[in-house]
Symmetry: C2
Subunit: 315 residues, 2 copies
């Protein structure tokens, strides 16, 4: 068996590339890194990598993590700048026994010393979106925070190796040095190759209140299917957080177990991409279905066309 | 009922202060912050706050977190510099809905804008220890990383409110921007006031591989006593990590449930301080006892005298 599941429509081209690699017996980590890099490199995906949206000062600060489900090795970066592929930096850090999670200037310094290329990650388009947003906020007293789409992936290869990875430019207009869930073990991601893995997207401040990726992996360990585990964790915690904190932000999780079974749950409309051996391959739309269930439907061509138009619309 | 449990002997004076406050009906958050500040302020505790040990470049970078078990609100900082009480900054950040985890220069900027005082946190003694270590490493090709004692506390007040907090200068000689488990929800700390809380100290890189604080809280939720939960999580993961990663670093966890019952487990010799209403109050030594058990003994006057001498010995 092999398989890969990833957050958001933007992951799909990468998932297709990873699918070919997995079918040809590639290591899960290589397939997943290839897929995440494709999202990071594509300038029209405005929440990850090149063309991602900057913090309130106009600087693109990125978060990423890589975890190996066989060894539990983790590498992570937060608030890294000027690096084309944060996922590759995170992966390299996962080989370190010490200092494997680096933030801010120290993260960028690590990447430079390790020979990663340097790149101004702010596109002309992202700069225009940021400037426009600054003007809107100044005029309308709007809450500045509404974009936070992380690419998160769980990958299983033919040799039962599993990896998870995340990459994000974080909350649009965030304060300098703000960190979300994406680089945080247990919240943004977790994987145990003897069980399965999960990855998250959404409001990081709320995801870390519930350690939802770890929770889903533990629920799978207790015998739940990935879908039942996602449903229980996501809807249970949405309810608990609403009662106890007053409100639950938007969040969505994807999971896959070491048999290639997968699941998704979300408290908002959420697209994802999945491919498994001899099975499903495509982009789907997930929504909460009531009673702790998730409704999953294939994406329509109409939705895809509107998406394509939207991400390339003039600013 | 009320109670407080904290990692390491260094926490004890703060625990005694918190005990008085809790007996007088103080909020858990206030008692705990008072206790952690006392550790941060004492110059001879060389792994937390003032007098803490710097990173490899001689800069004291600190990590801290605060979590409210009623609302799940979390505030955290990593790689913050020049601030006397990182725990107070973390607590103030816990009131923010967005941007509540700040790292690096952004964390220090937040503290400055919020009006926290600025202080050079490097003592003459810490500078001498650092210089000596640099020389030793240059001469002997030693692994530079051996100190990483976080103060972590779990606190329960008379109104069933619970909080956890952590503060640490992190791994001695760490690379710039290295982050450990202390500011990471689920790894360094977690609390749910309807269940209980846990906090960790040890090698952060390994603690985040197991999300041990969250795991202990979930084990308590499943009905285990804090001691049974700590034993199961700590010894189970030490074994799993040894098998899968090759080696498990040193780590120790403390936990308390919302009845004031407490527990501790550790894979090394480890001191802690605990105080509960009408019950125990003191410093104890914990060690692994074999068969997933922990041996806990009162600390001896001899040990305390040797400790006092050691932390103030000429450098």
């Amino acid at each position: 068996m092999w398989g890969i599941i990833a957050t958001w429509r933007m992951a799909h081209d990468g998932v297709l590339a990873a699918k070919e690699m997995l079918a040809a017996d590639a290591f899960a980590g290589d397939a997943m890194e290839t897929a995440i890099k494709m999202v990071e490199d594509y300038p029209y995906y405005k929440s990850v990598g090149y063309g991602g949206l900057p913090n309130e000062t106009g600087i693109l600060e990125m978060d990423a993590a890589y975890m190996d489900g066989t060894t539990f090795a983790i590498g992570a970066v937060a608030g890294i700048t000027d690096v084309p592929n944060p996922i590759a930096v995170a992966r390299q850090l996962s080989h370190e026994k010490f200092n494997s999670f680096r933030v801010g200037a120290g993260a960028t310094q690590y990447a430079m010393l390790a020979g990663f290329p340097r790149k101004n990650m702010l596109t002309e388009r992202a700069r225009r979106i940021w400037e426009k947003r600054c003007e809107e906020i100044a005029k309308t007293n709007l809450s500045p925070y509404d974009g936070h789409d992380t690419v998160g992936m769980v990958c299983l290869d033919q040799n039962q190796r599993m990896t998870v990875g995340t990459s994000s430019s974080g909350l649009f207009m965030k304060k300098a040095g703000r960190v979300g869930d994406s680089p945080l073990s247990g919240s943004g991601f977790y994987v145990d190759a003897e069980i399965g893995g999960a990855a998250a997207t959404g409001l990081g401040e709320d995801l870390m209140k519930g350690c939802l990726s770890y929770e889903i992996v533990q629920l799978m360990a207790s015998g739940l299917t990935p879908q039942a585990a996602c449903d229980k964790a996501v809807y249970g915690f949405t309810e608990k957080l609403t009662q106890r904190y007053g409100k639950a932000g938007a969040f969505s999780l994807v999971a896959m177990n070491n048999q290639g079974q997968w699941g998704v749950a979300t408290n908002v409309e959420f697209t994802f991409s999945v491919a498994v051996k001899d099975g499903v391959c495509g982009i789907f739309m997930a929504k909460p279905g009531g009673n702790q269930t998730t409704v999953i439907e294939p994406i329509t061509q109409e939705w895809l066309d509107a998406y394509e138009k939207r991400i390339k619309a003039p600013v």
